[in-house]
Amino acid sequence: MQPKPFLELMQWGPQGWLDEMVFATVLTLLVAVTGFLFGLVFGMVAAVAKLSESRLSRHIADGYTTVLRGVPDLLVIYLFYFGGSAVVTAIGRMFGAEGFIGLPGFLVGTLAIGIVSGAYQTEVIRGAFLAIPPGEIDAARAFGMSGTALLRRIVGPQVMRYGLPGMGNIWQLVLKESALVAVVGLSVHLSEIRLGDLVVFYETRFSDLLRQAHVAAGSTRQPFVFYITAVTLYLALTTASTWCFRRAEAWATRGMRRV
């Protein structure tokens, strides 16, 4: 069989794979964004715990960041996927359900990415908080600010400003890490979208970029073409986010004096 030329493979529509690859890129982005936001929640909680007076919560947060940064991400994804399903199956048994209950790949994958990236985000948030000159907090207290006002007006904006470069690094990491969910399989079925009277029908299964490349490579027997396409699309994502973070940094530091 003569291999199909590249442009014929990469058509939009049922004959080609371009639409699948583009949707897969969108899903990868979605996985990364959701994982990053989960990570932000874990990171904030753990950063507060690390900065707190209580020795117990400091130790717990230390344990969290040490373990999650020292263990391979793939192992964490396996734990969440298999362990999570085991827990849900056990709960299901209690209520009389039978057999193995699988968890939705999207939730498991993004939670696993979130808990790993949260460990890295903890350090960034903590570092950004410690970068705030203590005098500013004293001054704000002297003005009678306390609690939420202090957090909203003084601490929050500055943590965001100091933490932005570190967060940019972590975002790149999360983007690349999202490829790992392809291993446990993650697909979103989308059968139809209703927009008023308009019904857009899709028989496509969304898969993340790497898995989609894997599937397409298998069915066309042209693995190199599809993996190179995946590489290009990942590169486009990381390059675009580098640019976005550079813009965001310029915006966040617009009022700062350059030394």
Partner: protein
């Protein structure tokens, strides 16, 4: 699972050793600034740092399989047929790109005055690199390189996806056989933490050995931020 430790360490250390050689070559090419070559080296680093390692592994192992007849013709098929060599190649290419940035940073940190002083003493070329540039750059780059080693140990877990049975591969197999994911996770996690702990200690010792005069608190604390 302990049976997977030799393979994990073997993959990590051989790719780091090979990758370090490549990284130094890449950094020197970029520094020399020879136009077409340095441009190539820079785009190499950009591509390998900008894409997930897992995609790179798949590209080498599955992707190059597309060229089986051609590879057989030039007698390289035995290499690309083996998951071990493919994994080693992908890991090496990947760590070389990250390492090149670390080496570049180390070289950049050498104060110009030191080089000028060495030149005034009549040193040039290799002598200058061996006596002045390399030792200073090494001291600066070592902490970051220690992070890279730890990241590589973790990164080897990805080769389990192309059938290699290292620690994570064995853990996955055990989980799917026994469904005891928590126990297996904690056992495998402990193995990785122990390996990383030992490596961290060794790097600390090496740092103290090559830079006994630098006080620890003067140095910037490094948090490993990149993973694959």
């Amino acid at each position: 699972m302990l049976a997977g430790v030799p393979l994990t360490l073997q993959l990590a250390f051989s790719s780091i050793a090979l990758g370090l050689g490549m990284a130094i070559a890449l950094a020197l090419i970029v520094r020399a600034g020879l136009r077409p070559l340095s441009w190539l080296a820079e785009s190499y680093v950009f591509v390998f740092r900008g894409t997930p390692l897992l995609v790179q592994i798949f590209l080498v192992y599955y992707g190059l399989g597309q060229f089986r007849p051609e590879l057989q013709e030039i007698g390289l098929w035995w290499f690309f047929r083996s998951p071990y060599y493919c994994a080693l190649l992908a890991l090496t290419l990947n760590t070389a790109a990250y390492g090149a940035e670390i080496v570049r940073g180390g070289l950049q940190s050498v104060p110009a005055g030191q080089i000028e002083a060495a030149r005034a003493f009549g040193m040039s070329g290799l002598t200058l690199y061996r006596r002045i540039v390399a030792p200073i750059a090494l001291r600066q780059a070592l902490p970051a390189y220690g992070n890279e080693i730890i990241l590589m140990i973790k990164a080897t877990s990805l080769v389990s996806t192309i059938t290699l049975m290292e620690v994570t591969g064995l853990a996955h197999k055990l989980i799917s056989e026994t469904f005891r994911s928590f126990e297996v996770f904690f056992a495998a996690g402990t193995i990785y933490l122990l390996m990383n702990f030992v490596v961290t200690r060794l790097i600390d010792l090496a740092e103290r050995w090559i830079a006994p005069d630098l006080k620890r608190e003067n140095r910037v604390a490094m948090v490993p931020l990149d993973t694959r």
